[in-house]
Every structure is written in C-alpha cells, then in structure tokens.
C-alpha cells in the first residue's frame, strides 16, 4: 500500500512522526495504531510533521481526537506541524485550531515543548 506511510524520529526526547501521502478512512487506522502504541508506551511529547501529507479527510482528523485527551490528562501533548495550506483548510473548516496546537514549522513545535519543560 503506497498511498500512506510514516517515518519515526526522536529529537530532544520528542517523538516525531512524519506523514506522507493520503490520510483517509482507509489509511487512518495505520496512524491510529502507531500513535496508540506510542501513547501506551507512555510517550508524552509527540509532534506530527505534515510536510509530506497531500490529503486529509475527517477520518484523519479523528485519529488525533482519539488520543489528545489522554495525553493531555497526563501533562503531554500532540502538536501538529508544517501543514500544507490545503491540509490546514480541512482542520480550519471545523475549528480544529481551537483544540490543537498547530505550528508553522517542526522547530516551532520543538521550541514549545522544550519551553514547557524548562
């Protein structure tokens, strides 16, 4: 299946997930499983880098809703970074920027995490 993939990195103890391709009802379960595993391992600082993501539907938005409460309840966050304008319009359409910390760049998200812990 080539229409969606992720890569995982760690920067300054922050887990970064790079998204590539198309996040729809077919591919969203892949990401849900991956974030679910991180949350279960106790990971509290997650940045999702959207730079390589070409498309998102409501099923993709739903993945972040599944975990945000649990991770914030224990003092962590999932920050969303580097969205293309098209992908941001889908978040913006329904007011998701009210709930999620969406930053222009990955570095901005890293700074927010490190500022919060110092």
């Amino acid at each position: 299946m080539a229409d969606f993939s992720t890569t995982h990195r760690t920067v300054q103890s922050i887990h970064i997930i790079d998204l590539n391709g198309y996040l729809d009802a077919h591919t969203a379960p892949i990401l849900e499983k991956e974030i679910g595993a991180l949350v279960e391992q106790g990971m509290n600082a997650i940045i999702v880098n959207f730079r390589g993501l070409d498309y998102i539907s409501s099923a993709g938005l739903g993945v972040f809703m599944v975990f945000i409460e649990q991770i914030r309840d224990r003092g962590g966050d999932i920050k969303l970074a580097a969205m293309t304008e098209k992908v941001f319009t889908v978040f913006d359409l329904l007011g998701f920027p009210m709930l999620f910390d969406i930053t222009d760049t990955e570095d901005d998200a890293i700074v927010k995490f490190t500022a919060a812990t110092t």
């Binding site: 009802a25 077919h26 539907s57 938005l61 739903g62 359409l93 329904l94």
Partner: protein, 148 residues
C-alpha cells in the same frame, strides 16, 4: 434552474475503503476538466470522499462484494456528483450541525463527514429510492457560474 447536462461520467465503486483513492482521482479529473481552481477541486474531492466513506462504512458495512455508483454531470451552471446506492435509505442532510465547542470539550471523534460536505458544497440534497427513483441518491452540487 436546470440546464441540460453537457458532460457526464460514471464510476462503479466497490464497497471497500481501498476504493477512496480511485474515487478522488476520478472526481478530481472531472473537476479539473470543468475548470475549477485547485482549491475548489480539493474541496469537491473531499466532499465526495466523505460521502463515499459513509456509504461504504455505514450503508454497506464494508462489504466489497457490494457496489454503488458515482455519476458526474455538468451543465452550464452546475457541476453535480450523484452517489447512487441500493442500501437502506438514510438521509444525511437531516443531521443537525454539531456544536463544535461541545465536540471539542468532550473530545468526541467521528461524525463530521456530513458537516464537511455541507460546508464545502453549494447544494446537498438526498432523494430516497422509491417507485420513481430506482436508487438512493445523494446529490452534491458545486456552482460553475463563478469559475473564471
């Protein structure tokens, strides 16, 4: 006002979520051909994806043995995508819009597809199957009059 369709295209879709990428490609090609700008092509593709996701998941329970159809028609005024299915009738246009403040406060997920469709399309209508209509039809319309 209805004007005669000048162009039509159809696609048969298996009730499998793996079909969504092909659905979007089909819709995008037709929307580009109709002259819509890229941002509008994206919106139309998103709306049809949401509508088909609902049909595949809720109407056909992801049974890949079942099929439904997309019909795209273009008149001087309108670009119309009809999603035609033979499952139990369900009118999504009757669903009230969600209270997003409550939605976020309660960390809900799911159930936003219809809301997205209504936000990005100009008209959304549902015609349940009956003696006159052989299929349930969800009709999504984008106005072509303002396309330069």
């Amino acid at each position: 006002m209805n004007t005669p369709a000048t162009h039509t295209a159809t696609m048969q879709v298996r009730a499998s979520l793996s079909e969504l990428a092909s659905v979007r490609a089909f819709v995008e090609q037709n929307a580009v051909d109709a002259g819509f700008p890229e941002a509008t092509v994206f919106q139309i593709s998103l709306a049809v994806d949401e509508a088909c996701s609902n049909v595949i998941r809720h109407a056909y329970k992801e049974n890949p043995g079942m099929k439904f159809s997309l019909l795209i028609s273009r008149s001087a005024n309108d670009f119309t995508i009809s999603i035609l299915d033979d499952a139990e009738s369900f009118d999504p246009t009757n669903m009230p819009p969600p209270d997003m403040n409550k939605y976020f406060a309660e960390f809900r997920h799911g159930g936003l597809g219809v809301h997205i469709i209504k936000k990005v399309m100009d008209f959304v209508t549902y015609i349940p199957a009956d003696e006159k209509h052989p299929h349930n039809e969800l009709r999504l319309v984008k106005n072509l009059l303002y396309v330069s």
